[in-house]
């Protein structure tokens, strides 16, 4: 009998161990010097280890960093384990990650002096139930980005929350193979932004109360350009009517308040099945990069954009004519009768004369009652013609769905 007990105890014990046999579990609780304790654990961790931060407030003066592959940094919950950088004295981020295959889950990063969580140059990064927030409300002094993976591959952002970023709450830049889903972005300048990236799926997110809800951008003069294959679907991009509070000089500083979804440059973007409405300026705008550039490799015009199956609420009833050029131009062109969808119609000169290649044209499916406005560039150049074109049906065509993004598991 004793022997049996001993044996079963042993089995139980090994079971317990084996539930963690993925790696060692290091548990840390708030203390006098949480920085040293957490940072040391992050440096000494071996691949497969879990660093667990128990519920509580961790006040940090220096930025944390992860450079060990395949570790998990986790807390007890998105509102329970809080890393506060309110008194940060050094480091440009709250947390930075530079190793492959890291999982971040169930904690929050608050009030970082710069970006909240920056992940650079990795293959495989998961943010799951992570919150980044500037707690003092919208302010130009808030950090630029909340969740900020850049130059990375296989990026998963799931069930996260991003609040108060003075640039973008969720920002994925110069990356490839990206899923952003089930997340909430509020009170940022840009709620969710996909920039200079390839193959991104952005779905089931809630982007509200930002200056602009969801942005798909491509910019010149940086290493990865020609952003393409971005699907934006089943999101709510509503009520994005917070005044632009980005510091001047930043590209999102040009976004007018009241923008639902904005596509700038980029190609192969499919926007479908979203609820977009109650945006002061416009629900969807498709525009050319508006600044001069000498970058010969850069293509400033949006191409192959498909928009279908969206549900549009009202927009354009209170356009922001103060910020950037877009709203002002549109307001004049439309005589104050703002459309749901705007395309600036700017194409390279040969296309102005001879038309756009068919596969590069904007294609609409059924978008309910959506109204549309574009500028006919040829008529714009010639005298005596009205360049405004509001004929939605001219752009209705066959939708060719883009393939879904599949994240590859690292081996």
């Amino acid at each position: 009998m004793t022997k049996f007990l001993k044996q079963s105890k042993f089995t139980l014990l090994s079971l317990l161990i084996c539930s963690n046999c993925y790696g060692a579990l290091v548990s840390i609780s708030p203390s006098e010097d949480p920085y040293s304790e957490i940072q040391e654990a992050l440096i000494l961790a071996e691949p497969g280890d879990i660093i667990h931060l128990t519920e509580g407030l961790y006040e940090l003066e220096d930025s944390l960093s992860i450079d060990v592959e395949d570790i998990i940094l986790e807390g007890d919950g998105i509102d329970k384990t809080v890393l506060s950088f309110k008194n940060q004295k050094s480091g440009a981020q709250g947390l930075s990650v530079t190793s492959d295959g890291v999982i971040l889950r169930d904690f929050a990063v608050e009030d970082a002096k710069g970006d909240a969580i920056k992940v650079k140059g990795v293959d495989g990064i998961s943010f799951i139930r992570v919150r980044t927030e500037w707690t003092g409300g919208v302010s130009t002094d808030n950090g630029a980005y909340g969740l900020y993976p850049v130059e990375s591959k296989n990026v998963l952002i799931d069930s996260c929350v991003a609040i108060g970023a003075s640039d973008a709450g969720i920002y994925v830049g110069q990356s490839e193979n990206i899923i952003v889903k089930n997340s909430r972005a509020e009170f940022n300048v840009a709620g969710i932004e996909i920039e200079n990236s390839y193959y991104a799926d952005v779905f089931d997110n809630y982007a509200a109360n930002n200056t602009g809800g969801i942005l798909v951008f491509d910019l010149p003069d940086i290493p990865q350009q020609g952003g393409h294959h971005v699907r934006v679907f089943r999101n709510k991009a509503i009520n994005n009517n917070t005044d632009n509070f980005a510091p001047e000089g930043n590209i999102v500083g040009e976004v007018p308040r009241g923008m639902g979804i904005l596509v700038q440059a980029s190609s192969h973007v499919e926007i479908f099945d979203n609820d977009i409405g109650d945006n002061d300026t416009i629900n969807i705008a498709i525009v050319t990069y508006g600044f001069e550039t000498d970058d010969e490799n850069y293509y400033p015009h949006p191409r192959s954009i498909q928009i279908h199956g969206n549900r549009f609420g009202k927009s354009g009833y209170n356009p922001d004519l103060e910020t950037g050029e877009l709203a002002k131009i549109l307001y004049e062109l439309s005589d104050g009768n703002m459309p749901h969808i705007f395309w600036d119609g700017i194409v390279p000169l040969p296309q102005i004369l001879f038309g756009q290649p068919k596969e590069e044209r904007i294609v609409f499916g059924d978008n309910g009652n959506a109204s549309f406005l574009t500028i006919n560039a040829l008529k714009y150049i010639l005298p005596f013609f009205d360049p405004v074109d509001q004929n939605y049906d001219d752009y209705v065509g066959e939708i060719k769905p883009l393939p879904p993004v599949i994240l590859s598991e690292r081996l």
Partner: protein, 346 residues
Amino acid sequence: MKDYKKKLLFFFCFFSFNILFANVNDSIVLGDKTPKKLSDYGFFDDLVSQSPSKGVLPYDLISPLFSDYTDKIRFIYIPEKGFAEYRPHEVFNFPEGSVLIKTFAYLNDHSQSNLDAQLLETRLLIKKNNKWKNVSYIWNEEQNDAFLSIAGKTISTQFVNNEGAIQDVRYRVPNINQCKECHQRNKSIKPIGPKARNLDKDYSYEDGVMNQLDKWHNNGWIKKDIRVEAMTDWTNTLASMNARSRSYLDINCGHCHIEGGSADTTGLYLDFTEERKIHLGVYKKPIAAGRASNNLKYSIVPGDPDSSILLYRMNSLDPGIMMPESGRALEHKEGTELIRKWIENL
């Protein structure tokens, strides 16, 4: 007979003792375990005065990186018969077992100083298994040895500045990850300073003054007659403003702001060899600066330093704004003054 044996044993011990302490211990340098103390390596005959062992050579850079006005004492160790291949505009390809040793200190040797010298940390870059490994040792309060650092350390201290005044500083010993921020390029760690272009100058060795590249050649470490477009000592007021400024930007910024470096996402490249104006920041819009743009539109506006984000970030002490991102807690007045004048004259 017995006495003779004893004597022999004594001599044997004495001899090996000597070997152990007057020479670098290669097996420790290349061993799997990272020693806990700096003294374990045997780089110094006398650790406290930083007097090097046999085979460990001091060196200096034409333009050094600013690190909160610390004095830096640099040494290089190349194992016997080791040879470093020259690569233009890159760090030498040092052989296995080479070590770059750099002690950060406030020597407080200003004539009016009433503060003692303080050694802060000694950083090592060790070439092992064909990769560079970074490790740092923090000096103890007794100042008689330095101990392995993992998470880095904040040392709040004082030093005597150039004007002879006492100044407070929150000196940060970087953790292992932070070292990589600057030293990482294309996923591997590299030294920053010892490029031929930054070494081509005279040095006062114990046995006389000699050009460093010639000395290294005499030691059998590098090939003969390497002559390069050398960098300029940024403090040399006789040199051209442009050469001084480009050298300053190279050594302070160019290791991250270079293709493959930690800051390459921005497309702002400040390496010595960069010639494309837009990538040097001239009328370049910021990419991810956030509030660090200070409501300015461009990295550099020629003729207008106060409208240039680059200078604003070099001046700042706010961790969310300042450049470099780490390794600096104080403003480098002389450096920012130089860059201000350079932009004024662009």
